[in-house]
Symmetry: C2
Subunit: 214 residues, 2 copies
């Protein structure tokens, strides 16, 4: 019997999808930014077909909204929606963090510490995108350990939705300070204190917005 393992190369649309998704999540696109099939298509030098799939997929995930005439744009979130999404973060992220806690060994904590210093750098250099990117990476690197893919998917889904709006908030306020609760999070991880971890993740998420919204 001959077995040939295929590396099934990612389809054309997958590449475009991942790039756009990343841009949106990091706030590279501002709220209300509209995207067209043909525009996206010739940007990546492909036909309309894969471009269409990408936009619809992102729309299905809430990363884009579809106007009632079928146009695609990044969502413009009102305060109430933003607070709702943030409440979801406050609900989900402590839970997934708690699940990751038993599996969070030292190597992970070290890596998170490293990422945290990258956040500090982004603050100094006032680069909001790098800031958001490192900040999300800080959280994700922990959450990955929870081995709860469905939960992580929901969390990232929310990050996607708030991406563009968060960016403009950061620009309006200016990235003032490195998130002060991250050290407490790391401490809670080291001491395996689940209650403290939940609380710190919760306040980190909640305060992040509260700082911005007014």
């Amino acid at each position: 019997m001959v077995i040939d393992l295929k590396i099934s190369e990612p389809s054309l649309q997958d590449k475009i999808y991942r790039e756009l998704r990343q841009k949106i999540m990091l706030g590279d696109l501002s709220p209300g930014h509209s995207l067209t099939l043909r525009g996206l298509a010739q940007l990546y030098d492909v036909s309309m077909t894969p471009a269409r799939e990408v936009l619809r997929r992102l729309a299905a995930e809430g990363a884009l909204i579809v106007t009632n005439t079928g146009r695609f744009m990044t969502p413009i979130l009102g305060n109430d929606r933003l607070e709702e999404l943030n409440a979801l973060r406050g609900l989900l992220e402590p839970e997934i963090a708690a699940r990751a806690l038993p599996r969070a060994h030292l190597a992970l904590i070290d890596r998170m510490q490293l990422i945290n210093s990258r956040i500090a750098q982004a603050v100094i250099q006032k680069e909001p995108i790098s800031y958001v990117q490192a900040n999300l990476e800080f959280h994700r690197s922990l959450y990955l350990r929870a081995q709860a893919p469905a939960m992580l998917a929901l969390v990232e889904n929310i990050w996607l939705q708030i991406g563009p709006t968060m960016r403009v908030l950061y620009e309006k306020i200016g990235v003032l300070e490195t998130p002060k609760h991250h050290v407490s999070i790391l401490a809670a991880l080291k001491s395996s204190d689940e209650q403290k971890l939940r609380l710190m993740i919760q306040t980190d998420v909640t305060n992040g917005l509260r700082m911005l919204i007014r």
Copy 2:
């Protein structure tokens, strides 16, 4: 100035999408059921294009999985995944129910009572699909009052993912009994007891699976 309001008729794919989505959520399709572009297309007498959009959209929502060769099928959930999704229900649904509580007036409670009797009927007649449908409607009619669209979207997203699997579980066990916590839920609503409501929603969701899984 002349304003003409358009009733912008739903696109072709929207109709197909909603129907398929409903089928999946109610468990009309069993786990591992595979769907093809051409099959779906000629089932609805359309071209491949809208069929493709529908399948990809459902895949983006987790209602379908895409095999590594690009085929579409309803997900086959292992026990761990199923428990994770159920944990998410147990996390989200009490919260959204609590938010609905202040707005839950008597008319709503009456309607829920009515739906509950439909559940009882489905139990007697042993119609698992009607059972699931009425059961979800019971919950959704409450959650709609929360005015938390993002939260509701996540909840329905999870319902979508577990739809096919729940169906076979119901068939294996048989729909034995009308959910016993629903009356407690209604009681909690009437007395505006948030803590009790959270607890009852939680146990209703959790026990629902626990009953089935072993």
